[in-house]
Amino acid sequence: MFSYALKSLRANLTRLIATALAVILGIGFLASGLMLTDAMRSGLTGDVEEQYKNVDFAIIATAGSDQSGGMDFQLTVPASALATARSTPGVEAAAGEIQADARVLRADGTTVNLRSQGRSWIADSELNPLSLDEGSAPKGSAQVVLDRKLATEAGVSVGDTVSVQTPAGTKQFKVSGISSFGRQDALDDGGTISFSEETAVQVLNAGTPGFSDVLLRTSGDPATVQAALEEALPTSVAIQTGEQFVSDAAESASAFISILRPVLQGFAYLSMFVAAFVIFNTFSVVVTQRFRELALIRAVGGTPAQVRRSLIFEGMAIGVIASALGIVAGAVLAIGLQTLLRQFDMEIPGAGVKVSTYTVVLCMIIGVLVTTLSVIVPAFRAGRTKPVEAMRASAIDNSGSSPVRAVFGAIFLLGSVALLLANRFVGVQWFYLTFGALFLFIGLFIGGPLLARVFAILVRPVMGLFGMTGRLAADNAVRNPKRTATTANALVIGLFLVTLVTVSGEAMKTALVDQLSSASSPDFIISSEGAIDPKLVASINKTEGVTNIAAVKSSVAVESTGQSTFVAAASLDQLTKSAGLKVTAGSAEAVASGSGIAIPDFSNFGGGALSSPGSVASAGLGDSVSLRTVGGQDLILPVVAVYEGSLESFVGNVMNPETFKTVVGDKPVTRVFVRAEPGQADAVGQRLEKVLQGYTGVEVQPGNFIGQIVGSIFDFLIAAVNALLAMSVIVALVGIVNTMTLSIFERRRELGMVRALGMTRQQVGRMVRFEAVLIGLLGTLVGMGAGILLSWVVISSIADGAIDLSFNWARVGLIFLVGILVGVVASILPARRATRLNMLDAMSEA
């Protein structure tokens, strides 16, 4: 009796742990996402607040009222604005911010930190976010201040000379001082190199005077100062109060978190959805196993409500405990992730985890809600147990195989296939697609048990090849078709999405990359986020094997209507020769002479979808466009040419350098397109790499790199989504472990009997492993099948046949292997448990 009590306790414990584990994983995932993003946000915004705490006003560049496209990073505040501000009454101090990549090099030429930033040193100690710990501020063109982080990493101190690589090349600087940022060693996470203001303009901005923003410290009545500033400054810039500026800066610093957070949450909810399957299944099995016990309770006078309540209460209790554990697990996961990333030198902003009330409350609510909802159906089923069933010989689980279920499942499955195929023939209709997909899942879930049976009938002969153990495994897998189907369905959800994302993502990627690569393009594109030094442009042009180059300055301009649009200073003629642009109407000379601008023709790319915003997009040859200049006037420019090529989307409206300067002011060159001698591309590429050595932030890429970038963005997205889906696959794995463990407990007598009859432990283990793998296989096949079907429908109907469903067989095969692996891993524990079962105990139980 005691051993029975122990055994049932142990079985209950397993069940509790497995159910809880599903919740712990899901909630842990949710909690860690929330905690990490909270920590990141407070880390980022805290730094921003610290950085600008003494700023009373800021001058920022503005591209007019409509800032669509988020391209304002290219806008700069002209140097004249700084001078004007300094002479405005009430302004105590003013400083322009300049920031670009800069690296400290060691003696052997290696980089100390790849993410260090160059900044202009702000003379006013209150405006300067950095404080000087030792030495003095940088003066002249040969001094820098390093922050403590960089100085420590590079092992240099005040007075030493260091090699610093900037967009303008590598030069020796004397370390005049060491800085720190508040209580931290560094402002930029890779460290900061500060130059004097004049030097910063030279080395960080390629000699073009201009600032990303100007910080002001003022005295007296703020309103008076603001009015005076507005009066004195041109309209191409705007005045912000310190508070506004900080909140904008904080927002943009943490902007990606607003995207990251809901995405992480979405995937966490998906895992919880899968966990719901696991919990539902576990409780269903438990109700079946406790059938006689429940009937006995009913027979001796327990009401259905009491039976129901006890199970729901059990579910809620598990929900509460598991959610709490999940939150702890989430914190551990978050800290682990931070530590792991730090090992790879990929510090994420924000240290430690931030446990907010919101996180705790949300996680508890979601965890308890999902658990409780999942046990309701089994609880009601338990409540319906009839007292007489206590007297019946045994409970046989026939559920899940009724003809009604089969008919409904079949109706939904056929309906979904019909709806999905309709897409294929009448073009994609969201109505058909949505309901088709919905019906597919309803059909799979209703018809799951039937599907499991059909699956077993199909695999039985194959499994028979593995002998008795294989055959029994196939039979056992569908002894409770509903249980098997629910277990497999948990896996179906994850693998369906993985397949859909991989297969359709792959197809879209192939189609886009093909389209992009087929367009004409330069052999190389040299680009910099900051500036390309004029000397470097000259050396690129002189490089052996380079036949043509086009140097391009780009900016966002504002139309008189207030909308922004991309403009570029470049020679259309050079662009034609080096980048394969085709002038389809008008003439290149007219642009070069300054009589008008050239606009791109986007008809190849589906019209306006990819075009730069603004009314320019709808203009044609002979129309004219009115742009607002930095001087505040409107400039009317006739469209004198239209061009076509693969670079439209990021060259924009082309004008000659003088017109460009009038419209947006002086800007550095940020891109150079290169045409190499035919057949020499590889050699030229290597030579260009050499030419660029010593210029930070300047990169050479093959001309068709847009295709490659699009390709790698797709690859990254597919990989990222799959990584996030992994959690739901893991929860499904827990579900298989759980189902198998419960089934084995249920069959312990039978297992004892086959052991007595001469089945070895190895054979028992193999039988259990086969069964788990079969459940995994069922989930994998159904999930992948549904994923491939839906991908095929979506892809082939969206693109009118332009996109083929190109299978990356290696990836599809990989998904299949993962599915099988889930089964194999899930079988380890149950198999061990089954082989350790004591034969006689198992048989002697009543």
Partner: protein, 247 residues
């Protein structure tokens, strides 16, 4: 029985002791029992509940291990065998009939009958199979699942399974314990026939004097010891002995 290994014994135990628990909870389920089961004989083991019948059978059959003493199946000392060798020996040399939970619910009657042979990767002899199935009267039920068979039919399948592999010895623990008298009588006569006609060795634990009367020899157990023995028993002679033991 003094010679350790004699070829006319299908199974034997020497000085067999089985102790469960320890200290105050110690139970001597078997207390130095020495007994042999003759080849081609039908032996019944009787005794009050808790006397150690099942324990003796399980230890002799290699389902459980003795605390002390040796056990032989044929001329193999099974106390010296490892787990796997013992399992394979059971598979090839021993047949079992239990009181309940005898059959695998997913397999048909036919598949259940050939289960031990399938495990061993052996094919049943078709004539012998047909004969056994015919004898136990299951010819028209072979493709039924256990859930579609009556308790008596299920037990017949178990008997057929034990007979088909022609093991060295068949152990049956209360094989008729859950059956009515007609079904019991059928099962018992199958076993009796197998012993008489084919020289099969059978050891059966039972509480039922009528069942035991089918055997050629009855052993009486009490408190883990063999206290009596009866050859060529009848129902009445058994009842007589049991009355004596009860005193």
């Amino acid at each position: 029985m003094s010679n350790a290994v004699q070829t006319n014994w299908a199974a034997q135990v020497h000085g067999a002791a089985k102790i469960y628990g320890s200290g105050e909870n110690e139970v001597r389920a078997l207390d130095h029992v020495t007994v042999g089961f003759e080849k081609g004989a039908f032996t019944a083991i009787m005794g009050p509940s808790g006397s150690g019948k099942s324990t003796l059978m399980q230890c002799a059959a290699g389902l459980d291990r003795l605390t002390a003493g040796t056990a032989f199946i044929g001329d193999v000392d099974i106390t010296k065998l490892g787990e796997k060798a013992l399992t394979l020996l059971r598979r090839d040399k021993v047949g079992f009939i239990f009181q309940q939970f005898n059959l695998l619910p997913t397999l048909t009657a036919q598949e259940n009958i050939t289960f031990p042979l399938d495990l061993a990767g052996r094919k049943p002899d078709a004539d012998w199979m047909a004969h056994v199935v015919g004898t136990v009267g299951l010819a028209d039920r072979l493709n039924h699942k256990p859930s579609e068979l009556s308790g008596g039919q299920q037990q017949r399948v178990a008997v057929a399974r034990a007979l088909v592999e022609q093991p060295e010895i068949i152990f049956a623990d209360e094989p008729t314990g859950n059956l009515d008298s007609t079904s019991s009588a059928e099962i018992l006569s199958f076993m009796e026939n197998a012993v008489r006609e084919f020289g099969q060795t059978v050891v059966m634990v039972t509480h039922d004097p009528v069942a035991a009367s089918h055997a050629s020899r009855v052993l009486f157990l009490a408190d883990g010891r063999i206290v009596d023995e009866l050859m060529a028993p009848t129902r009445d002679s058994i009842l007589d002995r049991m009355r004596n033991l009860g005193d």
